[in-house]
């Protein structure tokens, strides 16, 4: 089979294969070099209204709804901090 291939055709074939491989992997090389979507994919949580707490400022001029779990985590951290006023 190979004896029917001329040297020119062989070089062209080899060049074609190299270019094909390069194009096939070019997007991957670009993404690895400068990742624009490295992940991870964000899982959207549907937390029901019953799990949210309303927090208001002292003057009640601003109110926000916060997830209970986040408030709990913050309070756990604060409780672990030393009491600076003591």
């Amino acid at each position: 089979m190979l004896e029917n291939v001329s040297p020119t055709m062989f070089v062209a074939l080899a060049f074609g294969v190299v270019m094909f491989v390069l194009f096939m992997f070019l997007p991957a090389l670009l993404e690895l070099r400068r990742p624009r979507d490295a992940g991870p994919r964000k899982i959207v949580e549907e937390v029901s209204a019953g799990r949210k707490l309303e927090i208001a400022s002292m003057e009640e001029t601003e109110k926000i709804e916060v997830d209970q779990a986040i408030v709990k985590r913050i309070s756990n951290i604060l409780s672990a901090l030393p009491n600076l006023e003591a």
Binding site: A38, G39, E46, A69
Partner: protein, 427 residues
Amino acid sequence: MIAEALQLLSLMLTGLMAAYLCRHYFFTLNVLKNSGKPRKDIASESTDFQPSVSILIPACNEEPVIGRILQRMSELTYPSDKTEIIVINDASTDATGEIAEQYAEAHSFIHVLHRNEKEGRRGKAAALNAGLKRAESEIILCFDADYYPQRNIVGQLVKPFEDPKVGAVQGRVTVLNEPKNLVTRLVALERIGGYRIDQQARDSLGLITQFGGTVGGFRRNLLESLGGWDESILAEDTDLTFRVYLEGFKICYAGNAECYEEAVENWRAYWKQRYRWSRGHMQCAFKHLFKVLRSVNLTLKQKIDAVLLLNVYFMPILVLLSWIISVPLFFLNSQPTLGIGWAAISISVYSFVGNFAPFFEVGVGAYLDGRNRAHWLISLLIFTFLYNIPICTKAFADLIVSKVSGEKSVHWDKTSHSGDGNSYIMN
């Protein structure tokens, strides 16, 4: 004569590979077709159907990650009076047990089952069976220690059990430490293809939805009637999958019930994990293939899918065999049995269309997930496929040796977790 025999064998192997490639296309096109429709598994947190749930978390030396999952368990939105968390501390030599006990002291619904050196370290299946004996709820869910579920995941996972024909449920797994390195990014792509497309399509088409061993669960009475997890099988999840279907139940894929996992972070860990999966899967093929074919509880399309699923880890070995056959075929240089034209057409179609199929599946999965750049790495999946060839070949060889020698015990090579995924948690 030899050349013709090899050509026929090569065409048969091509035909087998084409069957799997057609399956990839079929699944991908099915998910694409249904992507615009509201999914039946979308379940907002329902308060109508809330059975009692036992969550089993087997843990052997999971000190870097056990605290994270237990913290998350304490934040679940499912009623705590209907939930019990059972941590099975499987003879850990690190602080896994102590950390778990701290959470148990703070939360009455968290319990720790300690297994000593004598009874422990016999694999995940043995640990889960120990937890099952302790469980008291109607539904048994399983999570690996390195997982980080969404807070309303329990409600999402139990909802399918409203259908009495559903014996088990499987949620979706998303890689948490995806940005860490190339291995984690490629594993994440594999997960996208496996869950977003494969599992979704199998569920939509009424085929064999696979229980993946974690982020899923069973009816307790069904699990007990099946005898729990088979401790002699490395892929105890695949084994249970087929036992559930053979018993006349089905497994539902709850695509909205999502959980983060820590993927393996280097090629050595990847080898160990995939070796375990492939050897376990092959054990299941030997155990269930004829039962599946004879079963009156499976439809024809389920039987076809079951056969393809059971033998999937043999495919890399068959690809290697076809490459080996092609070498003498090249040098023998004889006329193809079917004529050179037909051979050229079939090989060209297979190469340009067939080989594209698994990449197409992953690419569509990434597109449906809105991951506009993640699929740029798809071409690198060829290297994971090539890596799987020696893994599956070794697994098969070891399995044959163990069957010939009569060795029944299996060694569970546990995946180690670093806990590095914590830095990627967003909620």
